[in-house]
């Protein structure tokens, strides 16, 4: 009797172990498709909102969304561990080449647009800068706010880590002013913070700080200290918003991408098609990003 129990227990454990071990291929009981979505931290809230809505309408599809940065998502796509990579920058040629070497052809979809807002502490009187001034601040040419017409305070530069698509975009568009031959780098004393939250928090409490982040991540209490940016010293100085991104007057706006491994098919294709639909694009606007149509 006792040994019969023991055998039952052991076989149950064995079954459980089998289930656990094959977790990667086994799909959850209700869902018939399982889509893994990873990448850009800028897009993670958006991707989560899409996934939540989509799963309500399509209970047969199970979606998992994680962040980590555009580089992380693209690396995962190149290594074949995710179905869809989110990226706030386009794939670099060498990343595409690595993907090809692994037998993966990445396909690009523009799924939303985003403005990068430059923010300062509300105590800082500066409210407008030219692109050149922002570039000079971040490259270390200006070290005191008085050099751009502000108070006599040191400038504390805040940036995302180098694995962030926002970091790379900001380097190319703002620091280097979109000039491919320009090799300006961030000043070495730029604080590289691991999260959007870290930047918002430091800008909120430090009157010396300047930071940048996706417009959708700027909290209401800092909305009043978003810097109006001008392409040239003659102006116009433009505050980032859905309207100024759409009419291209705000200079620091970019496309947000999703990459699939090869032309999408089945559940992944349905999902991408839905993301490009008006219903999903309405969610884009709700979260402070800019819809593509």
């Amino acid at each position: 009797m006792k040994s019969a129990h023991l055998i039952l227990l052991v076989s149950l454990l064995f079954l459980a172990a089998c289930r656990g071990g094959s977790g990667q291929t086994a799909s959850p009981t209700q869902a018939s498709a399982y889509i893994q979505n990873k990448g850009s931290d800028t897009m993670v809230n958006l991707a989560l909102a899409w996934a939540e809505r989509y799963q309500v309408e399509h209970p047969e599809v199970s979606l998992s969304v994680t962040g980590g940065g555009s580089g992380t998502g693209i690396a995962a796509l190149v290594n074949g561990t995710v179905d869809i990579a989110n990226a706030s920058r386009a794939m670099k040629p060498e990343e595409k080449q690595q993907a090809e070497e692994n037998g993966i052809t990445p396909v690009e979809f523009t799924v939303a647009r985003d403005a990068i807002a430059v923010i300062v502490n509300p105590e800082n009187p500066i409210r407008q800068l030219t692109l050149q001034q922002v570039s000079d601040i971040y490259s270390g040419k200006y070290n005191n706010w008085s050099e751009v017409g502000g108070d006599n305070r040191p400038i504390v530069r805040l940036s995302r880590e180098t694995n962030s698509g926002t970091h790379v975009y900001f380097l190319e568009t703002v620091l280097r002013l979109g000039d491919k031959t320009n090799t300006t780098l961030f000043s070495t004393d730029t604080l590289l913070l691991p999260s959007s939250e870290g930047i918002i928090n430091e800008v909120r409490q430090n009157p010396n700080a300047i930071g940048y982040d996706g417009l959708g991540y700027v909290p209401p209490d800092l909305m009043n200290s978003v810097i109006a940016v001008a392409r040239t010293a003659d102006g116009p100085y433009v505050i980032p918003s859905v309207a100024t991104v759409n009419d291209n007057s705000y200079p620091v706006a970019r496309d947000l991408y999703m990459y699939t491994a090869g032309e999408p098919a089945g559940a992944i294709k349905d999902y991408i098609d839905w993301i490009l639909s008006p219903e999903a694009q309405a969610i884009v606007a709700d979260l402070g990003f800019v819809p593509i149509r």
Partner: protein, 298 residues
């Protein structure tokens, strides 16, 4: 001795031996893994380029000196805090505090050691760094000092717990002998009890250093991660980037087998060698001091 006991003995001996040797095997395996993944960095980047002062891996600037100095300044700062506080607390608990107070305080100190480092990081971001910025009038509070203070806090419980055990193990007769010779309580502590417990106290400090140099989450959150050369004394008041934070922040992004990937493993290798050097130095000091104290006390 009957046969079955003998048989059990053999098995238990084998198990204990396996456990003992496995630690060595694991360390060696990790070391060889680091060598295999890290050494190609030397082939891909010239040693001269690794020893430069610019760390910006996405544009192929792989100078690790800022990271090395960053780790050193944070660790040294943390030890300057943890050594006096750790030994002081241990002496108080073991020699001065009444028994009932010690029964309460020691578990509390050990509880502090169990705090997850990410929680300390939150404290650092939300309370310590704004306070430091205002109090010391710094451009930003996210500095090496904030990291050193928090890491000191992380190292203190480890140091206290082990040093207190070592002091407690000093025979009561030593203290009684010193007091009988007319030494004051302070003289007894400083000249007799602490030297007698020296090897245990040094072990405590060594484990404290080990805890500090390897700590990642807290430093990544509070030191600002700016890869500047921390070579002046005032660098403690500026942001720094440590080796551990660099590996943690960048490992997720790199493509397997890229130069950046190998350089990150190379940094891991450097970190491993530093810990090894600290351990070897400390154990040789402990070994020497034991021989000396044995000579004195016999």
């Amino acid at each position: 001795m009957d046969k079955s006991l003998n048989w059990q003995e053999t098995i238990i001996t084998a198990v204990v031996k396996t456990c003992g040797y496995s630690a060595i095997v694991f360390v060696l395996l990790i070391f060889f893994f680091l060598l295999r993944e890290g050494l190609p960095a030397l082939a891909e980047v010239k040693l001269g380029d690794l020893l430069t002062t610019r760390w910006y891996p996405i544009e192929n600037h792989f100078g690790i000196l800022p990271l090395l100095t960053g780790s050193l300044i944070v660790t040294v700062g943390a030890m300057l805090i943890a050594i006096p506080f750790g030994i002081g607390t241990a002496v108080f608990l073991s020699e001065i505090a009444p028994r009932w107070l010690r029964e309460i305080l020691k578990p509390l100190v050990e509880l502090l050691g169990g705090l997850p480092s990410v929680v300390l990081g939150f404290l650092g971001i939300l309370i310590l760094s704004p306070f430091l910025r205002v109090f010391l009038d710094l451009p930003t509070g996210l500095t090496a000092l904030a990291g050193a203070l928090l890491l000191g806090g992380i190292a203190v419980p480890t140091t206290v717990s082990i040093a207190e055990d070592a002091l407690d193990a000093v025979p009561q007769s030593y203290r009684e002998g010193a007091l009988a010779l007319g030494a004051t309580k302070w003289q007894t502590i400083w000249r007799v009890t602490l030297p007698a417990a020296r090897s245990g106290v040094l072990t405590a400090l060594m484990l404290g250093i080990g805890r500090t140099i390897g700590e990642t989450m807290t430093v990544m959150m509070v030191t600002g991660n700016a890869p500047v050369m921390a070579v002046k004394l005032t660098s403690i008041f500026s942001p720094v980037r440590t080796m551990t934070a660099t590996i943690a922040a960048e490992m997720g992004e790199v493509a397997n087998g890229s130069t950046h990937y190998h350089v990150l493993f190379f940094i891991g290798l450097v970190l491993f060698l530093i810990s090894l050097a600290v351990n070897i130095t400390a154990s040789s000091v402990v070994f020497k001091s034991r021989k000396r104290s044995e000579r004195v006390l016999s």
